[in-house]
């Protein structure tokens, strides 16, 4: 178990180093930021001065080493566009994205598992075929279209919900939250649905197919033959056996929710990291892009680690096999 953990941590570090190299590579290959930052009115001395200040005059390897050292300390340099430290900008934007991701993640998980179990148990009913058909829509419609449709129906036509922004936020410590105001909560609804719908339908379809598989197993038959209640059979005996693949996919999806909230944030003008990233791309604001890339890869690597640890928590057979191996 410990050996496994150490091995996984080592692998994680390798992944981060590779992503770091890619992020760093952007500085080298995507345009020259100095021209953008100084504009037309510039002297050769200004350029040399800025290059030195940004560390662009040193060798590639030194730059990479410096980049890694700073990145490890959470220092990603200064935004070319805003002229402020990237870490500050991201810390400012992170709460909006994380709150949105948390709400849609929880929503996707709760409804995905619930509906998956229901459609598996009542396999041939009208309800489950309706849900399955609708889920096809969720899987196949692109996110931005769902967002625009929701805005059109619920904001423009019915005028029930706001179409953009975070509503009022409250500052708690260094964290701005939309959970504490009514307008903040209302503003969360549409983006959360838009962001979570795909993940929800995906989780639902996986839970359903896993459940159908598990319900055919002998131990479920034996549980029935012992007269256990359907509820216990479905949720205690069957659901737990579906969780390993479900957690694998869910983990990756949680990563994607945060990483790819870009589209949803753009559609709803949600002031989070996704929107920050899109703007950074438009202005070739490489330190912001690099920091975002690193952040997302840290996120994916840690989610994968958590998923691996959850396997052990769920399936007692794994710990034994590890010990034997």
């Amino acid at each position: 178990m410990l050996a496994f953990l150490i091995r996984r941590l080592f692998q994680s570090v390798v992944v981060l180093l590779v992503v770091g190299a890619v992020s760093f590579g952007m500085f080298r290959f995507i345009g020259d930021p100095v021209n953008n930052m100084l504009g037309q009115e510039r002297t050769q001395a200004d350029i040399a001065d800025l290059r030195e200040r940004l560390g662009l005059d040193r060798s590639v390897f030194v730059q990479y080493a410096v980049f890694l050292r700073n990145a490890a300390q959470g220092d990603f340099g200064v935004s070319y566009r805003q002229g402020r430290p990237v870490a500050d900008i991201i810390a400012e934007r992170a709460p909006a994205t994380l709150e949105l991701a948390a709400v849609s993640g929880v929503m996707a998980l709760v409804f995905g598992i619930g509906l998956g179990v229901i459609t598996a148990i009542k396999r041939d009913s009208l309800v489950s075929s309706t849900i399955m058909t609708l889920s096809l829509v969720g899987v196949s419609l692109p996110t931005f279209l769902i967002g625009i449709l929701l805005i059109y129906v619920l904001s423009v036509q019915l005028e029930w919900l706001p179409s953009f922004g975070r509503g009022e936020t409250v500052r708690v410590g260094g964290w701005t939250t939309g959970f504490l105001t009514q307008s903040g909560l209302v503003a969360l609804i549409l983006p959360a649905i838009t962001l979570g719908l795909y993940q929800m339908t995906l989780i639902m379809r996986i839970v359903r197919s896993e459940m159908l598989e598990v319900l055919r197993q002998d131990y479920i038959r034996f549980a029935r033959a012992r007269g256990l209640r359907e509820r216990s059979i479905n949720f205690r005996h069957a659901l737990k056996n579906t969780l390993v693949p479900v957690i694998t996919v869910t983990g990756l999806q949680m990563g994607s929710i945060i990483a790819f909230s870009i589209i949803t944030e753009t559609v709803f003008q949600w002031p989070g990291m996704g929107l920050l990233f899109i703007n950074a791309v438009q202005f070739v604001d490489i330190p912001v892009m690099a920091a975002y890339l690193m952040l997302i890869s840290v996120l994916f690597v840690s989610i994968n680690l958590v998923v691996d640890l959850l396997y052990f928590a769920i399936d007692p057979r794994l710990s034994i096999e590890r010990v034997k191996a």
Binding site: R226, G227, R236, N241, D315, P316, R317
Partner: protein, 326 residues
């Protein structure tokens, strides 16, 4: 006076409707099992043995269903009960043991949890009482250090031990009938005998009736009191195990016995029954066995076979049963 039977099956028919028509994998079987008695049910794969067991305990998979006939358990009719009443009977009055102990236990739940959940479902017990009972149940089936093993997962047991756990689970609420569906098929030969002996001892001690479904005549010979030979959904022969083995009256039962190897020296060649059992959708008219039967006459190809009661010895469903000199 014989005690009233634990289980009475009367003209049980299981039907599976399909586009090609209705097939009847179990087609009118009747038998009783007395308290403490072990009835062996034998036949080839697809003869309807397991289907009959599933029908009795109410676990047929749709679209299979009981089309007609009656199942009586301890004097109560159970084939027409609503699902939730039937669920209460399962585990409490009818226990079931499945073929493969490796897949019968939930791999993610400790066996103690699986036992106490079953016990508390059927008996009004506190968690602590159920735990004591679970320990007792494991001790009874010969699991050493039972109290410590409660927290073990199924994969921490060997195949034979797991089948003991399965038996403990099937018997933990003291049912009056146990349906054992090929309980030894997946086990080592050396473990098979232990499991059969265990099942027989537990049921004798408690007066539990057993329906032992198997295709292994050796198991039947060792464990059963009476044996029912099934062919294509019907009973071909039903009688005391010694008589059926040594003096079978139905040509199919005779064929089965001829195909059974023995360990005696100077063994003759095993006989085999030509052909294969028909699928439930392709049962020939008359007696289902007639195309393969060495004694078949024209009557057998036209008229359905007589009932067991028509046989002077009350054993075989055959127009021309075999006579054996006494």
């Amino acid at each position: 006076m014989t005690p009233p039977p634990v289980l009475s099956v009367r003209n049980l028919v299981v039907a599976i409707p399909s586009r090609a028509g209705i097939s009847r994998p179990v087609n009118g079987i009747s038998y009783d099992i007395a308290p403490g008695e072990i009835l062996g049910v034998v036949g080839e794969s697809g003869a309807g043995k397991s289907m009959a067991g599933n029908a009795i305990i109410g676990l047929l998979d749709r679209p299979a269903h009981i089309a007609s006939g009656e199942v009586w358990l301890n004097g109560n009719r159970i084939d027409n009960l609503p699902p939730d009443d039937l669920r209460r009977i399962r585990g409490r009055q009818i226990g079931m043991v499945f073929q493969d102990p490796l897949t019968s236990l939930n791999p993610l739940l400790q066996i103690g949890d699986q036992l106490t959940e079953t016990i508390r479902e059927h008996l009004p017990m506190s968690a602590a009482q159920a735990r004591d009972r679970a320990v007792a149940a494991l001790e009874e089936v010969g699991i050493p250090a039972a109290a410590e093993r409660l927290n073990s997962y199924p994969h921490e047991f060997s195949g034979g031990m797991r089948q003991r756990v399965v038996i403990a689970l099937a018997l933990c609420a003291e049912p009056s009938l146990v349906i054992a569906d090929e309980p030894t098929t997946a086990l080592d030969v050396s473990v098979q005998a232990q499991i059969i002996a265990l099942l027989r001892r537990l049921c004798r001690d408690r007066g539990t009736a057993v329906m032992l479904v198997t295709h292994d005549m050796g198991v039947i010979a060792e464990a059963a009191d009476r044996v029912a030979v099934m062919y294509a959904g019907r009973l071909a022969e039903l009688g005391p195990v010694r008589s059926v083995i040594h003096a079978p009256r139905h040509p199919y039962a005779d064929g089965l016995m001829g195909a059974m190897p023995s360990l005696s020296i100077g063994q003759r060649r095993l006989r085999q029954i030509p052909g294969a059992m028909p699928r439930p959708s392709r049962i020939p008219p008359g007696c289902a066995f007639n195309p393969r039967c060495p004694r078949a006459a024209d009557k057998c190809r036209v008229d359905p076979p007589p009932t067991l009661a028509d046989d002077p010895q009350g054993r075989a469903a055959c127009w021309f049963p075999m006579e054996h000199p006494a």
